[in-house]
Point group: C2
Chain length 533, copies 2
């Protein structure tokens, strides 16, 4: 190991020195020094040419990606001081690296790691020596094998995107959001949200939920009956974790929400798939020995069925007589209202329903804000659980969102989105009827997504793959079913497609279906795995 | 139930109407209507005077806190339309409620629920009818009984606050943070972070961690070896969840971090308390059958001991020969450096160490940003687990923080905090030596907190209680010990106390100790429960 002279000197001087925030990160800083010393820890005069060792160590670290492109490298003089070698040796090694293209010299600025040289295939775990551990034998749980496959984010531009829940930046109320963010960044506000609140939330946001959001679901909740979560998904996780264990039987909709099912799988609970009809969940004998029934009664995911008031009442009655709990996932009802019906929680007279909601699906999924409404003893446990997981959702976002709601921007935005989605839905419905009249389309007036069934013989997975090649993204339905069978249903949503793209999108989809049928007639098949799963 | 005429009319008109964001939430809105209908669902002409029923329902909902103070109430005319009663009946009921002080009328604005009338003691679960469920029998896990008690946030002003990790709003770089938040709220940036990234993070933040933060711990990590978490606590939770299960043996420092221990308890892992000396964790035989050893070797929590380089190497050697994993929690080393030593992860040549860090403890704990550095197979599992829990930390904060680091503000702020904490530490050290010379003080030069042991016979819990009465907050040490015994050690920190308060704070603490001793001599004892646990 190179020597470590000068390591602890000049500490106080540096500490007293004025900070220069306008300067980029300084590789000479004491904290960075440790990094360079560690990188070059194996340089050793006894092992041969210092020059060759330096060049080799740097090229290797650049190729295996550990030294990031654009990283500023210390000067030869600084490097020499840090690792205890001669100035000339260090300077020559760096200049050699520049000449070979591994580093670039910027005038009056210094030497930087060149970009784009990473070759991950050559990489070993973190170091030259030692062996990689067998990690699979060390995981207490194999999350990758338990979780349902996720839809990866789609970023490539040229697609017409009918996937659900994707963000439409064009609708985002940039001005209003920035105003609230700015208001939440005043010195006084920061003093409030900057604190670690342990198991607490921003009371202003809870108050906004109580006054302005929950009543629209027919819910009047107390302060101690609401907790803020990181989007609807954390609401699912916290409630699943708290209530489920291996001997608990949970009734779930089939087809239903894949990420709810994955959470339940993690807990080891037994799942009982429950049937659906055009009013959503069917009240049936299989519910009788359930401990918990999970439902997306507002808009059933993925079929968009809206549960009638009579069915909601019957479900509550069945829950009471069989003494099971109800978990109500509002799913996309925050996007567009569900026919002016009170939620299950709004109708709940016993505190038997746990209500999960999301605010950020409407605003921007990247913001991650959701909530749970439940009896106070449940919320107390959820707060403690959330404290152990991550304390609380970031305070600045809670405060900014509270202002966004309080100032009426949320309501105005909600109306705008609803109007926009209704127009798009109407257009998609017409296009589907015209272009692919033999496809069965299920869609509730107020839903942002459509549940479409292709004529038998067409696999939704294959259709999605062919459509993607033509630039149209749809979501095959297999991930919603418990058996994960190859199905002919798929989901299309208007949540992020613009109105003028809809007609083209459906035309291309119809072409894709046409070509699949032609292929089927000629006996050929494409691979069944599409790029969107 | 009152009738539901007019429910579905005028929908399109509302949808087309211009949005008025400057107006507060409108109780006449269709969405709110459901709330009022639900609230008054049991009003029934057959049951007697409608007036009395209306007044009773409102007063009850206001007293039990479901109708929040400040909530706008529909006018009598609107109410009448919504629930299908006469206009006069509704108007008279509201005016009666105003007269009785349950509501207030604001000129040209409407009628609002009066504030401060909540009487939680009278409250029943959500409704008049039905019985509360026995929730304790329905929890799969009793988190409240598993978790170590938390320190509640202290907000009362007059205290001199020596608790650790509290936010010092006076140090927060408001201008720089606002600049980055603003930059992160441009239309282009929002299009980027507004998306649901599923299991992903903001690549700009990962890049900043790799280039500017991790090297100061001697770590050069690849893109796929880092994940962003919601503060250090989520790093602990994710890693604990992934690696631990009931038959796993985890060695933990005693005394050690209570919230790490709580996470391990949740997983059901067996815990083995490990001894400490002035260099932190002692390498001993008890480690041999551990599967995992968790250490805060940078600054041991709570004793502030810094593990020497030789001890770090020896720990890595022991881990290799006994094949256990090491989880390194940087704890407060992001506040002030730990004597310029590389972290365990920096010295790790096998990929055996999992490194947990926090960024928001320095900046503002309420922001909740931390990270895990680990071999790629571990990060893959953690990403999937995090996706099931809540997807990812909010995108806007990740983007703003990346800018904050990239522009050098983080480094500048870190230097400022370090300078400030060193000055405060020096002063606290002197004051303790002068005022309570018979207390044993352990403090590493660079640590923000002190581990103090009172002379035998003084209980830290009692001392904290008496000191709190005099306006000084310290943290008794019992929560750090596995046996939770009443101890004479306590923690004092300079992280949120201002320099001019330190002398007064220590003087009051000395007075408290004096009065405890006097009481002990006269044979009296105070109650042992302090207000800070």
């Amino acid at each position: 190991m190179a020597n470590d002279t000068n390591r602890s000197s000049a500490t106080n001087e540096r500490r007293r020195s004025a900070s220069r925030p306008d300067e980029a990160y300084d590789p000479r800083g004491k904290r960075h020094q440790i990094g360079w010393q560690q990188l070059l820890a194996n340089i050793d005069r006894q092992k041969g040419s210092l020059h060759d060792q330096l060049v080799h160590t740097f090229t290797k670290a650049i190729e295996d990606g550990r030294l990031a492109g654009g990283l500023r490298v210390p000067s030869g003089r600084e490097l020499a001081r840090m690792v205890g070698i001669g100035r000339n040796t260090a300077a020559l090694a760096l200049s050699d690296l520049v000449q070979r293209g591994y580093m670039t010299a910027r005038e009056r600025s210094g030497v930087y790691v060149a970009a784009g040289l990473e070759r991950p295939s050559t990489r070993k775990p973190l170091s030259d020596v030692g062996t990689a551990l067998d990690w699979n034998s060390r995981f207490g749980v194999d999350v990758l094998s338990i979780a349902a496959p996720t839809r990866r984010p789609v970023t490539e531009a040229p697609h017409i995107n009918f996937l659900h829940g994707q963000f439409d930046a064009g609708l985002f109320p940039t001005g209003h959001w920035r105003e609230c963010e700015r208001a939440a960044s005043s010195v006084l506000e920061i003093a409030e949200w900057g604190r670690d609140k342990f198991d607490g939330d921003d009371l202003a946001l809870i108050e906004c939920l109580r006054k302005h959001i929950l009543p629209s679901f027919g819910i009047w909740a107390n302060m101690d009956e609401v907790i803020v979560t990181l989007g609807g998904q954390e609401a699912r996780y916290l409630v699943g974790y708290l209530l489920c264990r291996p001997n608990i039987v949970v009734g779930v909709e089939d087809p239903g929400m894949p990420d709810m099912v994955s959470v339940l799988r993690l807990t080891g609970a037994s799942m009982r798939p429950l049937c659906l009809d055009e009013e959503g969940l069917v009240i049936a004998g299989e519910m009788q020995d359930c401990d918990i029934v999970v439902t997306t009664c507002g808009h059933q995911c993925p079929t968009t069925a809206v549960m009638s008031l009579a069915r909601r009442q019957a479900l509550l009655d069945t829950a009471r007589s069989n003494d099971f709990l109800l978990v109500e996932d509002t799913y996309e009802t925050e996007l567009v209202s569900d026919g002016d019906l009170p939620s299950l929680k709004g109708l709940d007279t016993e505190g038997r329903v746990i209500h999960l909601g999301s605010l950020s699906k409407l605003l921007a999924p990247g913001l991650r804000v959701g909530y749970v409404v439940a009896p106070a003893p449940v919320i107390r446990q959820l707060r403690e659980l959330r404290r152990l997981i991550h304390r609380h959702p970031p305070g600045n976002n809670q405060r900014a969102l509270a202002m966004f709601i309080e100032r009426g921007y949320h309501r105005a935005y909600m109306q705008r989105v609803e109007r926009e989605l209704l127009q798009r839905s109407e257009q998609l419905r017409q296009c589907l009827r015209e272009r692919i009249p033999d496809f069965e389309v299920r869609h509730h007036l107020c839903a942002a997504s459509f549940w479409v069934t292709a004529p038998s013989g067409i696999s939704a997975k294959e259709l999605a793959a062919v459509a993607a090649q033509r630039g149209v993204l749809i979501e095959p339905g297999d991930r919603f079913f418990h058996g994960r069978r190859d199905v002919s249903c798929f989901r299309m949503s208007v949540s992020s497609v613009s109105e003028h793209q809809i007609e083209t999108g459906v035309r291309l989809l119809a072409d894709a279906a046409q070509s699949l049928r032609a292929r089927a007639r000629s006996g050929k098949h494409t691979a069944s795995s599409g790029p969107i799963e």
